[in-house]
């Protein structure tokens, strides 16, 4: 599993408003890439174009190419539903399905995609996904209870388990720790380190320390002012970005001079 993502001259629009301009980037398989930048710079928007989730917002459109192992996910005849099966996503706020138990939540993606599972397969997949999300030991005795009964951090790991249960190639995370306490955050960060053995992970974060801790590569986005499109300023190894960035803008941001 795990695929390489090539972003070529990506422009994103909301109606007539251009939100993001000219992004070029290559994301290697089995790595963690962090998107950082001030609020409104378009980093979440770029993330959501990687599995065509931005289309949920009326009027959103895209120009440019996003190649997943060479095939354009915006090409002719591509079904966004299929794209999303390859590219999983974890959101800012944990959002387990309230009507489903923990186990049903994990299996939701597979079941809703019409795959029939025997009970043994289902049990096996549940355990594998929950172990993969470091949650198994905490919930194995209460798999049939509602997912909304878990703590915030557990819920977020449940959402990660749900995302990896469909066996995607790529895992997108949109500020997955912003609503969590430090201990839960640490648990998620540990998990991200393990996940990169199998998946291409892209994470948006507001927390620069987190980007420094978990990612191999970091992309810094910035915006020139309100109403202007967001731009990719610098994309490099995390160590370079945080120690010796090429651009002054990046330097200013990571040293806390703005944003």
């Amino acid at each position: 599993m795990s695929k390489q993502i090539d972003i070529k001259d990506l422009n994103i629009y909301y109606g007539d408003f251009q939100a993001v301009e000219g992004v070029e980037m290559q994301i290697k398989p089995r790595s963690v890439t962090a998107f950082i930048g001030p609020s409104g710079c378009g980093k979440s928007t770029v993330l959501r174009t990687l599995n065509r989730m931005h289309e949920v917002i009326p009027g959103a459109s895209v120009r440019g190419e996003v190649l997943m192992d060479g095939s354009d996910i915006y090409g002719a005849g591509v079904d966004p539903v299929n794209v999303r099966r390859e590219v999983g996503m974890v959101f800012q706020r944990a959002n387990p399905f309230p009507t489903m138990s923990i186990k049903e939540n994990v299996l939701a993606g597979v079941r809703l995609n019409n795959k029939r599972l025997s009970k043994a397969q289902a049990d096996e997949l549940t355990e594998r996904a929950l172990r993969g999300a470091n949650l198994w030991n905490e919930v194995k005795d209460r798999l049939s209870l509602p997912g909304s009964g878990l703590s915030g951090g557990q819920q977020q790991r449940l959402c990660i388990a749900r995302a990896i249960a469909v066996e995607p190639e790529v895992l997108l995370m949109d500020e997955p720790c912003s609503a969590l306490d430090p201990i839960s955050t640490l648990a998620i960060e540990d998990l991200i380190n393990e996940l990169k053995d199998k998946y291409t992970v892209v994470i948006v974060t507001h927390n620069m320390q987190q980007a420094a801790r978990v990612s191999d590569k970091t992309a810094f986005f910035n915006i020139a002012g309100t109403g202007k499109p967001g731009k990719l300023i610098e994309f490099n190894d995390t160590s370079v970005i945080f120690s010796n960035p090429e651009k002054e803008e990046t330097e200013n941001y990571i040293s806390g001079r703005f944003g």
């Binding site: 979440s44 009326p58 949109d174």
Partner: protein, 335 residues
């Protein structure tokens, strides 16, 4: 970030991107595939939506079609229409009766409805309040035919009150007694019907305004109290201004309900010619005229009743539109 704050559910089909507005998108990219499941399901919901349009058009259309006989008679021989003076002469006393009874009901019910809504939301003991709200909702659900039954049973008790009214306030035309100084001895007058109507729409207006009052932002209320306002001052500063448009629309809905209410009036009122006085027998409303005459009607009479139904439909339509206009004008900006 626009993406993460989007919470309303207004997205286009996930399988189909929204209207492609990016300059080059339409040219370079063919529309994404739409799955058959999505196509069938969205078509089904669309059909249901369109069906609603069709039903409403149908209401107007079929009423109009069945009114054809009346229109023909109006043109060729107006004296054939009930009353012998054409359709307008037939319908206008009914329109007046309808409007007057609804207006009285509204004037009587609204202050009480506001009082109850305020009482149950801001004044009643905390533990009692939800139960009271629930009782109001239940009362709003009591069928009008039961109100009619109740009104018949108690109408006689009002005779004494009407006598007193006509004695002291008889100089006002609406309380004038009949020529021989009497008032209706059964109490089944338009005023009685209007009062029963007001009791009927009371729970409806109350339950709507109650909801509005409950939605008053807690912070605004607390801000007022923190300034040292008494409870009544708090209500005047935050609750009432916030609820203004809601109250207006609740009242209008109540009016719409009163206009179209058939049974209570049909059962209570002993109908007659249009008179100014509300305490003697007489007057009639459109809905009640239809209900009382429909079972035996045939031919032209049937068509007449359907035509006055159309008139009622138009009146309620106008009232509802007025209500929307009022709500649009008075709604609180930016909240």
């Amino acid at each position: 970030m626009p993406t993460s704050t989007q919470t309303t559910a207004t997205g286009p089909a996930a399988g189909a991107p929204g209207p492609a507005l990016g300059p080059a998108v339409q040219g370079t990219r063919p529309k994404a595939v739409i799955r058959p499941g999505d196509r069938i399901f969205s078509a089904a919901t669309l059909i249901a939506g369109i069906l609603i349009l069709a039903i409403l058009a149908g209401v107007a259309l079929f009423l109009l079609a069945q009114s054809k006989d009346t229109i023909d008679a109006q043109i060729s021989d107006p004296s054939a229409i009930t009353g012998g003076n054409g359709f307008l002469a037939y319908v206008w006393p009914l329109v007046i009766g309808t409007l007057v009874s609804s207006a009285i009901a509204l004037v009587v019910a609204t202050p009480f409805a506001l009082g109850i809504a305020l009482f149950t939301t801001h004044m009643a003991p905390r533990r009692l309040a939800p139960a009271l709200g629930y009782v109001i909702d239940l009362l709003a659900a009591i069928p009008s035919v039961v109100y009619g039954l109740w009104g018949i049973a108690l109408a006689g008790n009002l005779t004494e009150f009407y006598l007193w009214l006509s004695k002291w306030f008889g100089w006002i035309p609406i309380f004038a007694p009949a020529a021989d100084g009497s008032v209706s001895n059964t109490g089944r007058t338009l005023l009685t019907a209007s009062l029963v109507l007001s009791i009927m729409i009371l729970p409806i207006i109350t339950s709507l305004t109650r909801e509005i009052f409950l939605q008053t932002p807690r912070l605004q209320e607390e801000a007022a109290l923190a300034l040292g306002a008494t409870r009544w001052e708090m209500i005047r500063m935050s609750v009432l201004p916030f609820g203004k448009s809601g109250i207006a629309s609740a009242t209008m809905l109540g009016l719409g309900r009163a206009l179209g209410e058939t049974m209570a009036v049909a059962m209570i009122l002993s109908p007659g010619l249009l008179t100014a006085s509300l305490v003697v027998s007489g007057n009639q409303t459109i809905a009640s005229e239809i209900a009382q005459n429909f079972p035996e009607a045939a031919g032209l009479r049937l068509s007449e009743l359907i035509s006055i139904g159309l008139v009622l439909f138009v009146i309620t339509l106008l009232v509802n539109m007025a209500a929307r206009a009022i709500v649009a004008k008075t709604s609180v900006k930016g909240s």
